[in-house]
Subunit: 165 residues, 2 copies
């Protein structure tokens, strides 16, 4: 019912997510109502949302935004590097903001194969980062590869699921 229009005021009013606006405009993308709604959902809720999760959260306030637009927008965001597309082997992709407004950073995942619970972890990241850099350097040299990205996921059973047989 309100705040559905594009923000018409000058740039200094872009508190909240200035970079998103900038990226969009700067790359020739139009900042639409649907896209703003999707960005809103992504920044409001902690990550790991599926396209349909996002659709269902956007829908109440924007019943005219279709699932197709969710997919298309996530694709754009993903290509812009603003969103990570994640695969936890469930047969559907999940998405999370590359950097939360309050500065969430790169992290890896712990996935429970029992209940699909997903834990973000940044612990041990110091040692990991060190070895990762070393490994990437070695692999790049050895295989003449230009490494841009990596996936590290640990699978197992969470404290609840490890009890059940």
């Amino acid at each position: 019912m309100m705040k559905q229009g594009v923000n018409v005021m000058p740039d200094r009013n872009c508190r909240g997510r200035p970079w998103l606006h900038g990226k969009f405009k700067g790359c020739g993308y139009r900042l639409t109502m649907g896209r703003e709604a999707i960005l809103g959902v992504l920044s409001k809720h902690a990550g790991h949302l599926s396209a349909e999760d996002i659709y269902m959260k956007v829908h109440p306030g924007h019943p005219n935004v279709g699932l197709t637009t969710i997919y298309r927008t996530l694709d754009v965001l993903s290509n812009l590097g603003l969103v990570y597309k994640l695969d936890f082997g469930e047969g559907r992709a999940r998405y999370e903001l590359a950097q939360g407004p309050k500065g969430a950073h790169h992290h890896h995942h712990l996935v429970c194969t029992g209940c699909n619970k997903i834990i973000d972890y940044t612990d041990f990241i110091d040692e990991e980062v060190e070895l990762l850099k070393e490994t990437e350097r070695g692999l790049s040299r050895k295989y003449d590869f230009n490494i841009t990205n990596h996936i590290i996921q640990f699978y197992g059973l969470c404290e609840k699921c490890k009890g059940k047989k």
Copy 2:
């Protein structure tokens, strides 16, 4: 047109893949023609085969084995831990023998996002294994998780693809 029947001789004759036979029988699975053919393809060709890849390799010798059986058998093998089901983000699963007959071991993957080339690497695995163990121990304790598995993949451009703009 030969060796299509189940091996009727006693167990010492199971040269080649004794464990596979043993696992199958031991778990109550029947060792069928189709399953043997699939195992044959998996052990003959280096990993990273899709279900359809396998189907096409099995088909000439066994035109009566359907794609459905390929999927079902891969599922069984995967649950028995004899085969790894891999996902390189192509929208289809790929499979590789957990342990090749000549003793191929656990390894990680380097994936080219340009041409989908996949490189197995075991280099640097000493340091990786060390850190992995340490990380797993820490994560297990901190999150009360029972870690059974991990995925580590590096993405980038291979020497051929990094040239193209």
